[in-house]
Symmetry: C2
């Protein structure tokens, strides 16, 4: 893949790094010389300049790239101007970071393919973590369902999935079991776990103490699942 990243703040910098680590060709642009220098030997091109300058954007050849990412935050006007110029030049796929909901609304309105709000997405994940302390992780599937990772409750230990009959009792589906075997240090304390995934679990699979269950459930049901003891 060939990707241009415009703006090397925390988000843009990390993104360019990850793409380069995975062997993709990256062009970076920023008005801050120090940031651009970090990519001098890693990026295909590292350009110091003002991205609102249309001739600079044309020189990147956005119409030949797989994606262009506009990662300018504080200066909303610059972000929107750069996006409009890229669309005029014929960029195939534009991803832009938005500072807040108002900025996001403008970007979507002008037709940006994907708009991301890193802080808001992270705030939602942390809020979920606080509001649902028993869930190790949660992924939303469509409007009404989630896949959750939850520690196996004590009342499940030693029982098989067939005995527990969770689909009938709670209308949930155990997709996989993360079997975790505890590793002990010299004083007998658990210092970590060795994990392997059992997917799909057979109906005769017994649930063990340190197992984490990967469960598909409706969002309405989550409160019920959290009450498992």
């Amino acid at each position: 893949m060939q990707v241009a990243v415009i703006g090397l703040g925390r988000f843009g910098f990390s993104l360019a790094d990850i793409l380069i680590e995975n062997g993709h060709e990256v062009l970076v642009v920023d008005k801050d010389e120090k940031l651009v220098q970090e990519f001098e030997n890693k990026a295909r091109e590292a350009i110091v300049g003002d991205a609102t300058d249309e001739s600079l954007l044309r020189s990147l050849g956005p119409q030949n790239l797989d994606a262009v990412v506009v990662a300018i935050g504080d200066d909303v006007e610059a972000s929107v101007l750069v996006c409009i110029s890229l669309m005029d030049i014929g960029a195939r796929y534009i991803i832009a970071k938005a500072e807040n909901d108002r900025h996001a609304k403008i970007l979507k309105k002008i037709g940006i393919h994907k708009v991301v709000q890193p802080e808001r997405d992270s705030a939602k994940a942390v809020a979920d973590h606080i509001m649902h302390p028993k869930l190790f992780d949660r992924f939303y599937i469509g409007e009404d369902h989630s896949i959750i990772e939850i520690k196996s409750p004590k009342s499940f230990w030693g029982k098989t999935l067939m005995e527990l009959d969770l689909r009938r009792k709670y209308n949930v589906l155990v997709i996989a079991i993360k079997r975790r075997e505890p590793m002990f240090d010299s004083s007998g304390e658990i210092k970590g776990f060795k994990e392997h995934l059992i997917a799909p679990p057979s109906p005769n699979e017994q649930i063990l103490e340190h197992d984490v269950l990967i469960v598909l459930t409706s969002n309405e049901n989550i409160k019920e699942v959290e009450r498992w003891q």
Copy 2:
């Protein structure tokens, strides 16, 4: 839940908002009066002040709260000082935002329960989206597996899961089907989809044109799944 949010930048502000919307009690602190005023009528307490002031932190009663979130970015020293003070006072659960990997390392070392890096997490998700254009979404399960959302390839349309035999051929597990029924506008163009989830799909379930498959696969296998035509 009772939660204190210290620092009302993009992340802290969104987090406090989401928690209040979900009916939880929130205390907010920031040195910027304008930001604190936004929460005057919504938060249980809205305090203007410097969070590195230990008497201010004590007045929040962190030992009685379910969680305290330290969302201070640019001033790494202030963030770390606030975290150390909260631990000394006896806060039960501390979540802190880190500016970069070095800041994250310090926070983990002093024993902060959860450290988040919003920009890095978002950069990883966007990099995945660019590197794997066919995947609508991807969730990592343990070290070696992922659950992915992928549009059903043309060669699957009209066939049942039994006929396709994906477990044997590709070692993947179709957990659910997001059945999307197109909605047309007056000129016959698709303007959106009505979605419902089929979980678990029966072996005789036929795959339709607009279906999105929710698939559990090993990370090694993903390249193979992306080649489905």
